[in-house]
């Protein structure tokens, strides 16, 4: 049914459609509206679940882990400082290979304090062993949440659905909410292979010596690599159910013979796509939907023939530069003739990414050799001389 919904409201409805049995969360801007809306659905009897309003994000993730281990479909959501406070639990959930879904309402990380959007939070936990899917708009956020449960439960790997804070979470859009029967048909009831059960007691979370540790890590890595098939399958199958799919691991727009590509993650894609159409740029837009697992093969395929690739990301690794930029550059280095990669951070801490960004980016790279890294929209005159 098509409705006008705020992103967070739509996400809450999408989560409810997945019939989670235990939801635990701690409020943080800009995730707050998601859990508020879930609380209301529970209060109104529209969602039957145990809603645990915990005392910290650390406990939010831990309650979800305990619940999932004890055989219940679990959900949590957070952002920014909350994601970092959870970080230890996030590694533990993934290493224990316990399926669940977490919505990250992407926000900058302090200091300096900012409540606004960038993707530093989810990027900070990119090595925790979770699948990370980035959404371009709220319709995709709804559909990806539903797909995420199927992926998580089939792969026994948790999935983080990354949704740009405010830009998506607080924006009202006309959205298609799936029918319950569609979701039920797509997502079978939760059944975990290693559930804690007194009739079949097992121990989980043992001390692993060097004799076994590398094998555990290897199998975790392989599980994420193998998840590529499930991510593609979930998107395809959901496309058949709902009529909407998003390209699986990554989405591409624009002419195949364009000499320049621009790669991004999340909602910036929509801005770039509109600018490309409005201004008729000869550019190929690429959007990583799946950042973990990293789509090496698909990325090389869609970068075939490009002379230049601009990476625009809303995070950075101080002292190294672009997180996505460096990974993309490394992935493409195996091509016979890789494009020159220009790596930029853009829109940090909620700095607006206007329609003119695409034009500016194309101008900037026109007569310039590959740029290792720069903060694209930095205004150096605001800084003292010695910090520029």
């Amino acid at each position: 049914m098509r409705q006008a919904l705020e992103g967070s409201q739509a996400l809450a409805r999408a989560v409810a459609l997945c019939r989670p049995q235990v939801v635990s969360a701690y409020p943080i801007t800009p995730q707050t509206h998601i859990v508020e809306n879930i609380s209301k659905l529970v209060a109104d009897g529209e969602l039957k679940c145990e809603f645990v309003s915990v005392e910290s994000e650390f406990s939010a993730a831990s309650v979800a882990l305990g619940a999932a281990m004890a055989g219940s479909r679990a959900y949590t959501a957070s952002a920014s400082q909350g994601i970092l406070l959870m970080a230890e639990v996030l590694y533990n959930i993934a290493g224990s290979r316990v399926p669940m879904v977490l919505t990250c309402a992407n926000r900058a990380v302090s200091a300096p304090l900012s409540i606004w959007n960038d993707q530093q939070d989810s990027m900070a936990v990119r090595d925790a062993g979770w699948i990370q899917l980035y959404c371009a708009d709220n319709q995709e956020a709804i559909d990806t949440t539903i797909q995420a449960y199927r992926i998580a439960e089939r792969c026994e790997v948790p999935v983080m659905v990354c949704v740009d804070g405010f830009t998506l979470t607080h924006t009202m859009e006309s959205l298609e909410l799936p029918e319950q029967a569609q979701v039920d048909g797509f997502l079978p009831p939760y059944k975990f292979s290693r559930t804690l059960d007194p009739a079949r007691p097992l121990s989980s979370g043992a001390l692993v010596s060097p004799d076994y540790f590398p094998e555990a890590r290897h199998s975790h890595h392989r599980a994420l690599e193998k998840a590529i098939e499930e991510i593609e399958a979930a998107d395809n199958d959901w496309g058949e159910v709902s009529g909407r799919s998003y390209g699986g691991l990554l989405a591409v727009e624009g002419p195949e013979d364009a000499p320049i590509g621009v790669l991004t993650l999340g909602s910036v894609f929509g801005t770039l796509a509109t600018a490309r159409e409005d201004e008729d740029h000869n550019v190929r837009l690429i959007r990583l939907r799946s950042f973990r697992p990293f789509p090496f093969d698909r990325l090389r395929e869609v970068c075939e023939g490009l002379e230049k690739l601009v990476v625009l990301e809303r995070a950075l690794s101080p002292g190294a530069g672009g997180i996505v930029g460096n990974e993309v550059r490394a992935a493409l280095s195996e091509m016979d003739s890789p494009p020159a990669v220009y790596s930029y951070a853009v829109g940090l801490g909620g700095r607006d990414v206007p329609l003119s960004t695409l034009h500016q980016a194309l101008e900037r790279v026109q007569d310039r050799p590959a740029e290792r890294f720069a903060v694209f929209d930095v205004e150096l005159d605001k800084l003292p001389e010695e910090d520029r």
């Binding site: 049995q21 235990v22 635990s24 679940c49 145990e50 645990v52 309003s53 915990v54 005392e55 910290s56 650390f58 406990s59 831990s62 309650v63 979800a64 882990l65 305990g66 619940a67 999932a68 281990m69 004890a70 055989g71 219940s72 679990a74 230890e88 639990v89 533990n92 224990s96 804690l196 059960d197 007194p198 079949r200 007691p201 097992l202 121990s203 989980s204 979370g205 043992a206 001390l207 692993v208 010596s209 076994y212």
Partner: protein, 332 residues
């Protein structure tokens, strides 16, 4: 039936010999005389098989589950150091959501309870989860090699509160965790000691019957950390109770409702002098004498505050329970 194999066995003997359910079985890697290993066995015996356990990081977790082995016979999970309360809350929520009655237990040491896991414990209790939280209190971070915790008694030596020219061991008091827990007005909070298995089992059974958060703190000597012979674990634990330094009490909804009376309180020095961690208090030095007096005053304070002094011989006081054997309490 072959007559040679039949013999008459008294009911008492039979009760003593009956097999008990053990949630944790032998073969684990605990040190000789480990108080925590014994306490955990006693807890799981009393709790029975229809449980699941959230175990914090610590000795108990390490010595019971060296991959690929496990000494647990009940569903058990270890996640992290500071989240045993929250993991248990999640398990309990799952049981509720699934309409199951399996009781969730949470096991942690004093580090995981008094210190790093305190917030998760407090949150779990405040939200009223039906969880029995058991704190195995050995009064320091034993798993990392005997560092002070907020449970370490005043003046005790640990590797991070060593005595020296300027210091007489730990400078601060042992945190009164059971009062803090009871201040959450949960249905049941109690302390007990591994030296009094009858008391310990009774308290676990009591907590198991209660719907809501319950808490049991078990004094569990660590021979390695406290510096006593592994064969003396129970004697040392018993003296801690008998001198008044470790009051064994019960609190319901925040009110004191039960205690283990001490028939003949003994001086704290009896308890302290058998442990290396208090050895520095017995040197000829005014600071040592001061601290000994301080510890005696703390014990006296406990005895007075909780009215721990017994009133004549009783089956259920410290000396009475010392005579208790498996199969029931014998006359003292």
């Amino acid at each position: 039936m072959n007559n040679e194999t039949t013999k008459t066995v008294s009911i008492e003997e039979l009760r003593r010999k009956q097999p008990r359910f053990q949630g944790i079985t032998s073969g684990h890697r605990a040190c000789l005389g480990c108080g925590e290993a014994l306490a955990a066995r006693l807890v799981t015996e009393a709790a029975g098989p229809d449980v699941m356990i959230a175990n914090a990081t610590g000795c108990l977790e390490i010595f019971t589950t060296p991959w690929p082995e496990s000494s647990w016979r009940v569903p058990w999970m270890h996640s992290l150091f500071e989240n045993a309360g929250a993991i248990a809350a999640g398990m309990e929520s799952a049981m509720k959501a699934q309409g199951k009655t399996t009781k969730v237990l949470s096991f942690a040491g004093d580090g995981g309870t008094f210190d790093i896991g305190f917030q998760a414990l407090s949150g779990m209790m405040e939200r009223g989860h039906n969880v029995l939280y058991v704190c195995y209190d050995n009064e320091a971070y034993m798993n990392t090699g005997i560092q002070r915790s907020s449970s370490t008694p005043h003046a005790a030596r640990t590797t991070t509160s060593p005595p020296g020219r300027e210091r007489m061991g730990k400078r601060h008091l042992k945190k009164d965790i059971v009062s803090i827990v009871a201040a959450h007005h949960i249905p049941y909070a109690a302390t007990t000691s591994v030296a009094y298995p009858v008391d310990l089992r009774r308290k676990v059974r009591r907590a198991m019957e209660i719907e809501g958060p319950t808490f049991i703190q078990i004094h569990s000597p660590c021979p390695l950390g406290w510096g006593h012979d592994g064969a003396e674990t129970l004697d040392v634990a018993r003296m801690a109770v008998e001198c008044g330094l470790y009051p064994v009490i019960e609190l319901e909804r925040g009110k004191l409702t039960g205690l283990l009376p001490i028939r003949e309180p003994r001086p704290v020095s009896d308890y302290l002098k058998v442990q290396q961690r208090f050895r520095h208090l017995f040197q000829d030095h005014h600071k040592a004498r001061e601290e000994l007096e301080h510890l005696q005053a703390l014990a006296d304070y406990n005895i007075e505050t909780f009215q721990l002094s017994g009133h004549g011989a009783d089956d259920q006081d410290t000396s009475g329970l010392n005579e208790a054997r498996r199969g029931g309490v014998r006359s003292a």
